[in-house]
Amino acid sequence: MISRYRLETLGMRTFVYVFLIVLLVITVVPIWLLVVNATRSTTEIQQGLSALPSTHLFENFRILESKGLHMGRGFANSLFVAAASTVVAVYFGFLTAYGIVIYNFKGRNLFMGFVVLLVLIPMQFSIVGFFHYMSRFGLTDNYAALIMPLIASAASVFFAKQYLESVIVQELIDAARIDGASEIGIFHRVMMPMAVPGMATLAIFAFVAAWNNFFNAFILISSIDKYTLPMLVQTLRGDVYRTEYGAIYLGLAITVVPILVMYALFSRYIISGIAMGALKE
């Protein structure tokens, strides 16, 4: 005899799994179609849907390049901007957070409160002023305008502070001080090796954010040879590629696949990085 209680649980559980599978299909199908269609020819795509890859990957790439869109260069540009942004955001994020966590200076709590406020304030509304001000220094159409603001990335500082509070061992720092290490030397040689997992997690988020950033790059960068991938995607939407479906999907896949690979490797860190704030107090 199955009790009514167990029967109810069983029914509920079945319902939940069905619901989850439906959500999964909605989540994955568009991404799957994107990757699969990148390997199919335009004719095949027009003939109908397919869940299986085809063999036209290289042909699509040839078409993509033949119309004057240099995905390779865009990829390199994006890689450079994202890597530089990541280094700046992670290094200065941890530097600032270390100052907050280790030193009990006057105004520390006020400064931390200010950082939290900055995280919530939408800075995008000042992009026009930022552009105009950068143009005075000739820094528009320059990657520096995209990268340098990350010196003051409040979000990175917040993450780094949360992380450092859980890993820092004060005794090690005191010991290094007795051994005569300079304060910045302690940061570089004692703290940084200890914080590698946290820095890696922040690096993933910083990289994805910079890689995907369209709006700022779109406002600030103007010459075509400096276009990053999201800006090339905008070009892909244009008339030149109107009927070249295979090439369009391939162009989009090129922007997405590196992130998919990264996610396959590091999803554990990404998910726990998101949840981290909540699990700590």
């Binding site: 568009p30 939408p122 995008q124 002023g129 010196i151 979000a155 995607v233 998101i274 949840a275």
Partner: protein, 319 residues
């Protein structure tokens, strides 16, 4: 010997100095500059700009396009936020339910979060292709007999707006689920045990224990999502012609700002005033919401603060 007098804790100022300098140069000054620009008649062409007071703002309020952009942003945001938070609450409740024992919760979360990492520009272009006249969606709908013939999805107001709402929801529901689930697992289990002893039903426990203790997290999700929604750009910009077609139905605040900015004269003063007004509107709404849901017990705010680590990590603006 001078060094011995220098308090070690003062080194803190040196460590935070780059941040403060960076903030003054790239954060605060642009904000100040945007504000002052919005009070002038500056264009990209002019060298000399004149102070014109609040004239830009008067013109904005008289401008149907501005009102349309604001109402579009609110409509698109609220239509995606409600199902987003609803499904996230549901999933988080199921995943943490000890009686249901759902398997592979980690894997489900990981998969549902996937769309969030993809480049929004590419996602917009992808859905443009999927829903175009000769695209796969039309093929499928016609072949399966749901439609008698192909439809111009992106020329209809309802389907275009619906698609933007869907994409925003698709991008963010996994993120919201992870945040809410983290909040739920942080609730002490003894509270539920005590409630169970008192004979509370699952629904009662959800309303009386889970929701109140989740409030700081819900406020956090609301505020970050609102900020993202009010500054939404990539998806509506790239889904149609970049002007919010059809009939300006997906023209959002930031698209309008961009259109003013990139207009032939480069009306950057006017574009700045759009940014300023959107900022004021968003901040007032966020603060109002904080005030309405404020917790009388100060402890809860600490938790909401803890939630920020996640944006910390992302630096993106959720929508």
């Amino acid at each position: 010997m001078r060094r011995a007098k220098f308090n070690t804790h003062s080194y803190g100022y040196l460590f935070i100095a780059p941040f403060i300098i960076g903030f003054l140069l790239f954060g605060l000054y642009p904000v100040y500059h945007t504000l002052t620009l919005s009070l002038t008649d500056t264009t990209m062409m002019t060298r000399q700009a004149e102070f014109i007071g609040l004239e830009n703002f008067e013109r904005l309020f008289a401008d149907d396009f501005f009102l349309k952009a604001v109402s579009n942003s609110w409509l698109i945001w609220s239509l995606n936020f409600l199902p987003q938070i609803g499904i996230a609450l549901l999933l988080a409740a199921w995943f943490t339910d000890v009686r249901l024992k759902i398997r592979g919760t980690g894997t489900w979360r990981t998969l549902f979060f996937l769309p969030n990492l993809l480049m929004p520009a590419a996602v917009a272009a992808l859905f443009f292709s999927l829903f175009s006249y000769y695209g796969p969606v039309n093929q499928f709908m016609v072949q399966a007999g749901f439609q008698s013939e192909a439809v111009h999805y992106l020329q209809e107001i309802v389907s275009t707006r619906g698609l933007v709402v869907f994409i925003q929801w698709w991008t963010w529901f996994g993120w919201t689920t992870i945040i809410i689930m983290a909040g739920m697992t942080a609730i002490p289990t003894h509270l539920y045990e005590a409630a169970m002893v008192d004979g509370a039903s699952a629904g009662q426990m959800f309303r009386r224990i889970t929701l109140p203790l989740l409030k700081p997290i819900l406020i956090f999700v609301f505020v970050t999502s609102l900020v993202g929604g009010m500054t939404m750009f990539d998806i509506p910009f790239l889904l149609t012609d970049g002007r919010g077609s059809p009939a300006s139905s997906i023209m959002t605040n930031n698209i309008l700002m961009y259109l003013k900015f990139s207009s032939s004269k480069g009306h950057i003063a006017f574009a700045s005033s759009v940014g300023v007004l959107v900022f004021i509107m968003t901040t007032v709404c966020a603060l109002g919401f904080f005030y309405l849901l404020r917790d009388r017990q100060p402890k809860a705010s600490v938790k909401a603060e803890g939630q920020l680590a996640e944006i910390a990590a992302r630096q993106g603006e959720p929508a």
